[in-house]
């Protein structure tokens, strides 16, 4: 049911933005389609491999390990560990989200996975090393890092303590 609602919203947004682009006329429509096509070529192999890889990982890792390390009852330590794993997970959004989603199906806690996703988003180590340090410079990068550091655990705590999910 909610999948249907999400799809309706998504395609509604596509229609509205598509209408805006259409009204511009000229090269706007072929340009948008070309960018989308390029994106699709890049995303498709990644998403297929990520889903398959995450599926096998979920089958390999004993569920009781997942529950023991990042389960709902692991509390603060689990939040810290999940944040650390998130920061260290390489391979772009495909692998991070696929692994997180698969972990939740075999017993990872929602607060812990919230911390995992937030840490991956904010501090992906691989991304900071390859992109942020060289482009932004080490001062800006370290300042941003310092400011955002407590967030993943705080978000996880908020979800866990307030019983939000």
């Amino acid at each position: 049911m909610s999948i249907v609602i999400a799809s309706v919203l998504l395609y509604g947004a596509v229609l509205v933005l598509g209408g805006l682009v259409l009204r511009r006329g000229g090269d706007a429509v072929p340009e948008a389609l070309r960018i989308s096509w390029d994106q699709a070529l890049s995303v498709t192999p990644r998403i297929i491999l990520a889903v398959i890889g995450a599926g096998f990982i979920a089958a390999l890792v004993p569920p009781e390990w997942v529950a023991a390390f990042v389960g709902r009852d692991t509390g603060f330590a689990g939040l810290l560990l999940a944040s650390l794993i998130g920061a260290l997970t390489p391979g772009g959004p495909m692998l991070a989200f696929a692994v997180g989603g698969a972990a939740m199906e075999v017993g990872a806690g929602a607060p812990q996975m919230m911390a995992f996703v937030s840490a991956w988003s904010l501090f992906n180590f691989n991304r900071m090393l390859v992109w942020e340090f060289p482009i932004m410079g080490h001062r800006s990068t370290l300042q941003r890092f310092a400011i955002a550091l407590p967030l993943p655990v705080l978000i996880g705590l908020a979800v866990g303590q307030l019983g939000l999910l």
């Binding site: 805006l20 389609l33 400011i147």
Partner: protein, 189 residues
């Protein structure tokens, strides 16, 4: 006038793709060896169903990325909000980070362009955090494919104001409104 496409399209094969490929092959091989062919094929079958289920969302996300790229010209966005500061500048920066599609190869150079257009560390932080936590096309394509909607909505809702807050904190801690470009020129490092 439609803006030109971003100069650097994503490479078709890069480290990210190779890492997922290696993980898939390794995990698949181990699964076949340790759990046997029956488990291997059943996992693969489940994965194919999952792929079919998320395909429409991925298609929509990819279309949205193309449309947003055409609708929000990056250089213009940088110029437009680079010179704005205060809460308005932070809010615009967070919004731009959330809406502009593109990976790190497009986002960090744009953050530098913001600095060149007069933005400070607060605005740059809000932009990067907006992109990291709230990017619409990443959430639509990847996050919603693998987590259920309740999880995604809750995470997104909890993170909604964080980029503005982080930008504000960065501004308080690391210097008042002062252009990034100016700081980098003047910095001794």
């Amino acid at each position: 006038m439609p803006n030109p496409a971003p100069a650097r399209p994503r490479r078709k094969v890069d480290a990210g793709l190779l890492i997922v490929l290696a993980v898939a092959l390794l995990a698949g091989g181990l699964c076949y060896a340790l759990k046997g062919p029956a488990v291997f094929w059943s996992v693969l079958g489940d994965d194919l169903w999952l792929l079919l289920a998320i395909a429409p969302k991925v298609l929509a996300g990819v279309l949205l990325a193309g449309l947003l790229t055409v609708l929000l010209p990056r250089e213009q966005v940088a110029r437009w909000m680079g010179s704005r500061s205060g809460l308005k500048g932070l809010t615009l920066a967070a919004l731009a980070g959330a809406l502009l599609p593109g990976g790190p190869m497009m986002t960090f150079p744009l953050a530098v362009a913001l600095g060149a257009a007069g933005a400070d560390i607060g605005t740059a932080t809000a932009f990067i955090a907006g992109w990291a936590l709230l990017n619409v096309s990443r959430t639509l394509v990847w996050e919603m494919s693998f987590f259920d909607n309740d999880f995604v909505l809750l995470r997104y809702g909890l993170s909604l104001l964080l980029p503005i807050l982080l930008g504000w904190l960065a501004r308080q801690c690391f210097g008042r409104v002062k252009a990034l470009a100016e700081r980098q020129e003047g910095g001794a490092e």
